[in-house]
């Protein structure tokens, strides 16, 4: 990587940025899920690894969250954007050099951000935990170059229109900058009290709603038509998806703190807007699943579609939960329980991770022009992710319902802790499976880069997946 930092633009081969982002996001995924597994172990077995300041659950919990959000998920978004946006514009990336620098600033910044957080320097605001100098760095040195590169690539495209995927990429990276600069105003300007609380959750809601959900969807808008060969079922429904994301997804932030004493009008407004999230959600899921018409066999046969469609199918329970669990009728029962933890993992480890893994698998093969080293290992990785995630999701959902019942019937808290304990152990096992699967993935990708069979030009990776 270092040799490209100071190379001339024309000397950097196309796809370099994307490959660098690809390998770094897989490595961050391993770190993030490893931390997650360790954290889960601490909750199941609290006397494991004691006395160490840095290895306390309270220090590591948010490092896990930010490693997977900014290292893995957003890193994988950057990886996909750097090859999908040029491909859809029938052009090359605006600046590979900027991209390579961006990848470096991304990894350096993330290391800085996570280590300061790990050693206790925090803003004390969930999801915007990074201290404000780091927030500025993320917005200006990590996300802004990414936005500029994708935006300029779209401007310099050689196609007539702009495909749905690119709308999402460019729009979401722009909104991410806005969300970072506006959502961290309590730190920049020292805003206090409930204003600070509302802004904290505005940030938390929008960093998920305006980045992770739409970009993961954007990836599937590319992968599914590309691999199946079917055109997207409806470009117009894709537009409905985009616009309803901007309008409905950016407004319900307050539904995260329904139990706080915010103004009641705001809670009601947020709750109604929260249900309207189902508009983009239903539009999206229908659009993708209808694109699969006549090609459903590929869901079983093709590794990229196996990942993508699993992700899309997981988006159905995700959105049904998300739309309704924030209404007052349901929120009072599940708020602050493991149900929410399960839901968050359904969004990040279920829906979006599966979509991104597909993009990373597909992109790596296309850019390296090499077949996967081992399809069996990729399938093994798929099942490790799916089984690990399912164990996690089911166990935390059950734990959450137990907590909710304990909460409303005012059961002494320690009894709830005892009742939850088996599920805490299952959650740890699930997380560990995901972690181990990812190690296999990295090895598979490394071997693909080194020893994968060459794919002839003019042929897509999935067309030769079973050719020996």
């Amino acid at each position: 990587m270092l040799k490209y930092l100071f190379a001339k633009e024309e000397d950097i081969p196309g796809g370099t940025t994307s490959l660098f982002f690809g390998f770094s996001c897989i490595m961050w995924f391993i770190v993030g899920t490893g931390l997650g597994s360790f954290n889960a172990a601490k909750l199941a077995f609290p006397d494991w690894f004691t006395h160490y300041y840095a290895l306390q659950f309270g220090h590591m919990r948010q490092v896990h969250v930010h490693t997977v959000i900014f290292g893995w998920i957003t890193g994988a978004f950057a990886m996909s954007a750097m090859y999908i946006v040029p491909a859809l514009g029938n052009t090359k990336l605006w600046s590979e050099k900027l991209g390579v620098w961006n990848c470096m600033s991304w990894n350096v910044g993330l290391m800085l951000a996570l280590s300061t957080l790990w050693f206790g320097m925090t803003s004390g605001r969930e999801y915007s935990d990074f201290i404000w100098p780091i927030d500025l760095y993320i917005a200006l040195c990590m996300v802004a170059p990414l936005f500029v590169n994708t935006f300029m690539t779209v401007i310099n495209r050689r196609t007539q229109g702009i495909y749905t995927t690119n709308w999402f990429f460019v729009g979401s990276f722009f909104m991410l900058i806005v969300v970072f600069l506006v959502g961290n105003m309590p730190e920049f300007l020292h805003l206090t009290g409930l204003n600070e609380a509302l802004m904290t959750w505005w940030f938390a809601h929008n960093v998920l709603g305006l980045l992770i959900t739409p970009v993961a969807a954007a990836i599937t808008y590319y992968i599914v038509p590309k691999v199946t060969g079917n055109p997207l079922y409806s470009h117009r429904v894709g537009h409905l998806h985009f616009w309803s994301i901007v309008v409905f997804y950016s407004t319900p932030a307050a539904h995260h703190i329904m139990s706080s004493p915010l103004p009641e009008w705001l809670k009601s407004f947020a709750s109604v807007e929260g249900v309207l999230i189902l508009v983009p959600a239903v539009a999206y899921v229908c659009n993708i699943l209808l694109t699969m018409q006549g090609k459903w066999a590929m869901f079983v046969e093709n590794i990229e579609l196996k990942y993508t469609i699993t992700g899309v199918l997981l988006a159905i329970p995700l959105n049904m939960q998300g739309g309704f669990q924030q209404t007052r009728a349901i929120n009072w029962y599940v708020h602050g329980t493991g149900w929410i933890v399960a839901h968050a993992h359904l969004a990040l480890l279920g829906f979006s991770t599966f979509a991104e893994a597909a993009a990373v698998y597909y992109g790596m093969q296309t850019l390296l022009r090499r077949k996967l080293y081992s399809l069996s290992l990729a399938n093994f990785h798929f099942w490790m992710l799916l089984v690990g995630f399912s164990l996690y999701w089911v166990s935390m959902t059950i734990a959450g319902l137990i907590q909710g019942a304990g909460k409303i019937y005012e059961v002494p808290y320690l009894d709830i802790v005892i009742a939850e304990h088996p599920y805490m152990i299952v959650r740890w096992i699930g997380g560990t499976l995901v972690f181990m699967g990812n190690i296999v993935w990295l090895w598979n990708m490394y071997m693909t880069a080194k020893h994968g069979e060459k794919i002839p030009h003019g042929i897509l990776p999935h067309e030769v997946a079973y050719v020996r």
Binding site: G124, N195, A197, V247, S250, I257, L262, W332
Partner: protein, 314 residues
């Protein structure tokens, strides 16, 4: 190809995003900012200071740059006996909370009373001072306000600290609460629908003015702590529980916070955590009748700050 044919779309995008921020940030912000502080909010600001998170005065979250809460039984200026009162001591240079720096934090009525009766206009950060939370009843309406006791009663910082019956480091303790991630499991937000019996009164709209950060938590894996000091006021219990929660709650999954004691205990004796562990394991196996002794935390230790914070949550 340019972006020309997408001009309308781009404009609409900007309009949609700005309108969304207007409705979800600006309007609620106006509404929230017009709320008058309760006495709880005043006490919180004076206890915790400017902020409990990363700041110039406390870059590494060691609990620096925080006020000290004291209880007084005699007047620091005259030495005469008084009814027990809590005072908040800001040593010279300690950062002041928002409510003392900006005019629009406390709410109009509270701000007016604090300025007129409380003389908070004379406060300066360089000189520090001593503060009280008081209230005034007019036409049957009780309004809390901040009194700058250094101006109104001549209570100096040093005299107040010398006369203090008890020093409570809850301001530094909240920093520990944030840094150690206590709030990942313990919320500070009893819910209005059902938490009254177990965890006490839920907070109201004016309870948060000037607090930074609010950090009331979102994922409750442990009891709510907003009123924990009213349920359990035992310093001994808290000390045991922070050192090793399994000493008092065998099924607890809370981490141990024994490393907050520092290298030595209150008597200057070195703390040997490894030996303590072996003895505790022997106790759990039934080889010992009593668990090992928990060392007393030094007066300036982070453990003491955290314990003070928990006990101060009334």
């Amino acid at each position: 190809m340019g972006f020309r044919e997408y001009r309308v779309g781009s404009i609409l995008f900007g309009v949609a995003l700005s309108t969304s921020m207007m409705i979800t940030i600006y309007f609620p912000g106006l509404d929230i900012s017009s709320v008058s502080s309760t006495s709880v909010a005043l006490e919180k600001q004076l206890t915790y200071g400017k902020t409990s998170a990363f700041d110039y005065g406390d870059l590494f979250l060691h609990g620096d740059d925080k006020p000290i809460k004291v209880t007084l039984k005699k007047d620091p200026a005259t030495g005469a006996a008084i009814d027990e009162v809590s005072a908040y001591v800001f040593k010279p240079g300690t950062s002041l909370p928002s409510g003392l720096v900006h005019k629009h934090i406390l709410g109009a009525a509270v701000q007016a009373l604090s300025a007129s009766l409380g003389k908070t206009g004379q406060v300066s950060e360089e000189k520090g001072g001593v503060f009280l939370v008081r209230s005034s009843i007019k036409d049957g309406v009780e309004t809390p306000y901040i009194e700058f006791a250094t101006a109104t009663r001549g209570w100096s910082v040093n005299a107040t600290l010398a006369a203090a019956d008890q020093k409570i480091l809850a301001g530094s303790g909240k920093t520990m609460f944030i840094r150690e991630g206590c709030w990942w499991c313990h919320t500070l937000l009893p819910e209005g629908t059902h938490d009254w019996q177990s965890f006490g009164r839920p907070p109201v709209l004016g309870d948060f003015n000037g607090e930074s950060p609010t950090a009331f938590g979102s994922d409750r894996k442990a009891p709510d702590l907003l009123h924990v000091g009213s349920r359990n006021s035992s310093r001994e219990w808290m000390t045991l529980h922070f050192f090793n929660p399994r000493l008092v709650q065998p099924h607890s999954i809370m981490p141990r916070y024994d490393y907050l004691w520092g290298p030595k205990d209150a008597n200057g004796k070195k703390i040997d955590l490894k030996k303590w562990d072996e003895e505790f394991d022997a106790y759990r196996e039934g080889d010992r009748i009593y668990p090992p002794e928990v060392p007393e935390p030094p007066a300036d230790s982070e453990a003491r700050m955290l314990i003070d914070f928990a006990l101060n949550l009334k």
